[in-house]
């Protein structure tokens, strides 16, 4: 029976030879993840289920990253609850303070997520790890609480949409633009309940961090997961981070796909998603004159070291527009340190940036960069819903790090070519 990579991983974790779209399966979970917002509810559920210990102390990963450093008393109470649970249970992977960063940057960086695994996280952007050739999807706290107790989850096998990217990328265009373009094409519910499989020669040449960016935003098209087969690039990335063994799955050449979409990338410009949906995309050249008040560079979408290097290349020797707030949030302490050693942080400081700690902060309107009414931000993040970054009458425009950096200098939405 021919299967896609998603079907093969699900079958392997359900102890079955084959699965088909629509099948309801009970699958073994390799990694279960939650953060400081979703873990407290999951811990409550875990308590209600009534088992003593989590299914595996090495496989339940808790990361404090959303409202940390604790933004108020209530947040501090939530993190305290998570910390105490992690200690009681003896979890080997609890991250807080100087060991913590954005969860979806931290887990790959520490080699905790691997090809062929089944990863479940109480965070919608858990789909990020699909970039490693894993089945990885987001759930809510109750599901996660049940996974912590049983090590298993019920899943419906999704139909797969195959997206094939061919052609030659234009300057300043990368994974962020490809995924924004794709979401624009499909719409925010275009891949609802579906697996998205990214393939083609363009993906094979894409560096690891840009693959993470693409898988990260599969959820913004409604996708269940966004998967990329592991290859030499993946193995090279993992070799520097882990010696753990893993299995590589690939789609059968004649596997059945619900839809196959061919995308010629040659004509794609840097993309900007206008308020208030990630699907509301335009080429940067058609953005018009949109003055902005803030630029945010970071998040689980674009908080990678290479993203900071991109932004620094644009900002080198330049200043953020007067009155504009430029906020840079490295994705992890290691990225922060490396950026410091490479002189990138100095470039940001000289450009007038505020450099924040590795956390989710402003992306979800948590803290460290909230917008007032009428204010506009260009952000390298993943969502531009109403009120996402602050006041319900503020606006968020999503873009890649090069466009975000250029926009900071211009004081309006624009690309590096305009500098």
């Amino acid at each position: 029976m021919l299967m896609t990579i998603t079907e093969k991983i699900l079958a392997a974790h359900a102890g079955r030879d084959r699965v088909s779209p629509g099948d309801l399966i009970e699958a073994k979970v390799d990694v279960a993840l939650a953060n400081d917002i979703t873990a407290p509810l999951a811990i409550k559920v875990f308590g209600e289920i009534g088992v003593e210990k989590v299914f595996d102390i090495d496989r339940v990963v808790l990361v404090a990253d959303h409202f940390v450093p604790n933004k108020d008393i209530a947040s501090a109470q939530q993190v305290k609850l998570v910390r105490e649970f992690a200690r009681e249970q003896g979890l080997t992977n609890y991250f807080e303070g100087g060991e913590s960063g954005v969860e979806h940057v931290i887990l790959p960086e520490k080699g905790l997520v691997l090809p062929g695994q089944l990863i479940i996280g109480a965070d919608s952007h858990t789909c990020t790890y699909g970039a490693l050739g894993a089945f990885s999807t987001g759930v809510g706290s109750t599901d996660l609480g049940a996974v912590m107790a049983t090590g298993e989850i019920w899943l419906k096998v999704p139909p797969t949409i195959l997206l094939r990217y061919e052609g030659t990328l234009r300057p300043h265009v990368g994974g962020k633009d490809l995924i924004l373009h794709t979401i624009g094409l499909l719409g925010v519910e275009g891949a609802l309940y579906c697996a998205m499989e990214f393939s083609g020669s363009v993906i094979r040449k894409l560096p690891m961090h840009q693959r993470f960016t693409m898988s990260n935003m599969a959820i913004e098209a409604g996708g269940k997961n966004g998967i990329i087969e592991a290859d030499e690039t993946t193995l090279g990335y993992l070799a520097e981070r882990t010696s753990a063994r893993f299995e590589i799955f690939r789609s059968d050449p004649d596997a059945h796909y619900d839809r196959v979409i061919d995308i010629d990338v040659s004509g794609i410009e840097p993309q900007v998603a206008f308020p208030h949906l990630p699907s509301n995309v335009r080429p940067v050249s058609e953005a018009g004159d949109v003055p902005i008040d803030q630029v945010v560079i970071g998040s689980c979408t674009n908080g990678w070291l290479e993203d900071l290097r991109d932004a620094a290349r644009v900002l080198k020797g330049r200043k953020a527009s007067p009155g504009l707030r430029l906020i840079v949030m490295p994705g992890s302490p290691l990225i922060y340190k490396t950026a410091m050693q490479e002189g990138i942080l100095e470039t940001f400081l000289e450009a007038g940036a505020v450099i924040g700690p590795p956390c989710c902060g402003p992306c979800l309107g948590g803290h460290m960069g909230i917008l007032a009414s009428g204010e506009r931000a260009v952000a390298t993040t993943n969502r531009n819903f109403i009120g996402r970054m602050g006041h319900p009458e503020s606006e968020v425009y999503l873009a890649n790090p090069l466009v975000a950096a250029a926009s900071a200098v211009l004081g309006r939405i624009g690309g590096p070519d305009e500098l």
């Binding site: 917002i37 289920i49 965070d123 858990t126 925010v188 609802l192 819903f385 319900p392």
Partner: protein, 166 residues
């Protein structure tokens, strides 16, 4: 199933209602559902949280509950008093979350188009029939497994009974 028949006022919303507007992130520093309910739809429909009554019905368009996985969203809606959500379609994490906490969802394009804000409606969950001022509308049957979850009272009870055998 907790209650098979729901009768109440309709609160109508549009397409692509995301979990950030259902419960903005600034209110996620608590997990208490009564607290969450106070701020349900605070930004796009101020007054909802105070005016909604137990037993009311939420009707929406496509892709209801898209975005963040925050279970605080269906919890806030449920704790506010809504007993069933009817929409053209639901985002998948929200769909799981709602059934997991025992909040039933019905998919019906006809009802989504035909029901109006402020009207009364009667919903028969078992039969998947919705009756409002604009007529009687069929919904897609609730899948067997999801019906089991609702019958058990949610995923916690289901896992306790079926998986752990308590």
């Amino acid at each position: 199933m907790e209650k098979m028949r729901v009768e109440g006022r309709i609160w109508k919303f549009g397409d692509d209602v995301d979990t950030d507007v259902i419960i903005p992130a600034r209110y996620l520093n608590v997990s208490d559902e009564a607290e969450l309910a106070k701020n349900c739809f605070a930004d796009i429909r101020p007054g909802f949280a105070t005016d909604v009554a137990a037993g009311d019905i939420l009707v929406a368009g496509k892709n209801f509950g898209c975005g963040s996985s925050r279970e605080h969203a269906p919890l806030a809606i449920k704790a506010a008093g809504i007993r069933v959500i009817i929409a053209e379609s639901f985002a998948r994490i929200f769909y799981r979350n709602a059934f997991n906490i025992g909040l039933p969802l019905l998919e019906s394009v006809e009802a989504s188009l035909g029901l109006s804000d402020g009207d009364k409606a009667v919903v028969d969950l078992a039969a998947g029939m919705i009756e409002g001022a604009g007529g009687v509308f069929p919904a897609r049957p609730i899948p067997d497994f999801m019906a089991q979850l609702i019958a058990a009272g949610g995923l916690v009870e289901y896992v306790r009974e079926v998986k752990i055998g308590r």
